[in-house]
Symmetry: C2
Subunit: 120 residues, 2 copies
DNA sequence: GTAGAGTTTCACACTGATGTCAATGTCAAG
DNA sequence: CTTGACATTGACATCAGTGTGAAACTCTAC
């Protein structure tokens, strides 16, 4: 599929898909005419990237994450100690973010429950 | 305490504390000389704000969240249906973010486990 | 009173993620 | 062939979150 269809399926603007590619988060094959072409596997990848970016992870970290993920899938953790350290640090950050978001989520849930109980 | 001490305790730059106040996320009393003054309860609040912002929640939403939280604590959900709707939408977004981050967290954990198992 | 550390406000600048527009190229349909 | 939809690149603009520095004020300590 081409970029427009991918954008439609993922809900991510074409502008951003190109931006992510430029940031090295994504690779796209090219048709003879120069158009980018994507497989269905790219849908998931784009959604994942967009999700992480929206969650406040900067693109250069998203890149590291996805690379680690790929290496992990291959069971070839060909990563340096430095990268591992970096990931370990990032893991802490992630956990903090998750905790913070979870707390907010619970608060909202509680609040909405309260409102809907009092409402009708 | 004054802003410098608060910054030290929370790890949030004074610049940002003032910024968050300017965005209406925070209120600070003033000493007779004009200096901002904070109670210990502000420490938690600042950390919470910073956490949410770092997690990709824009400040204006953080504001809504915290207001809902306060109203919830008072058991006075004096909020309009609009706000409730907005919160419900945001809840979905939060859940997506959490899911996305959780997935990344698990990936990193798995990856690190694999590396450390293979390493020494 | 003077020096120094901390504070105030204000402003200018930078980065990262996006929106948008312009000029051009490709292709399918009429 | 022309039109219209979609693609390309590139530039410019915007917005939020921060960094940084200036100029002035407050307070403490010497």
């Amino acid at each position: 599929m081409r970029i427009g269809e991918l954008a439609e399926q993922t809900g991510v603007a074409t502008r951003l898909i190109r931006y992510y590619e430029q940031q090295g988060l994504l690779s796209a094959d090219r048709l003879p005419n120069g158009y980018r072409t994507y497989s269905t596997s790219h849908v998931e990848r784009i959604e994942r990237i967009a999700g992480l970016v929206q969650a406040g992870i900067p693109t250069r970290l998203v890149k590291v994450l996805l690379e680690a993920e790929a290496a992990c899938a291959l069971e070839q953790p060909a990563c340096s100690a430095e990268v591992a350290t970096l990931l370990a640090e990032e893991l802490v950050g992630l956990e903090k973010r998750i905790e913070c978001l979870t707390r907010s989520r619970d608060t909202i849930r509680q609040y909405l429950a309260q409102v809907s109980a009092a409402g009708p």
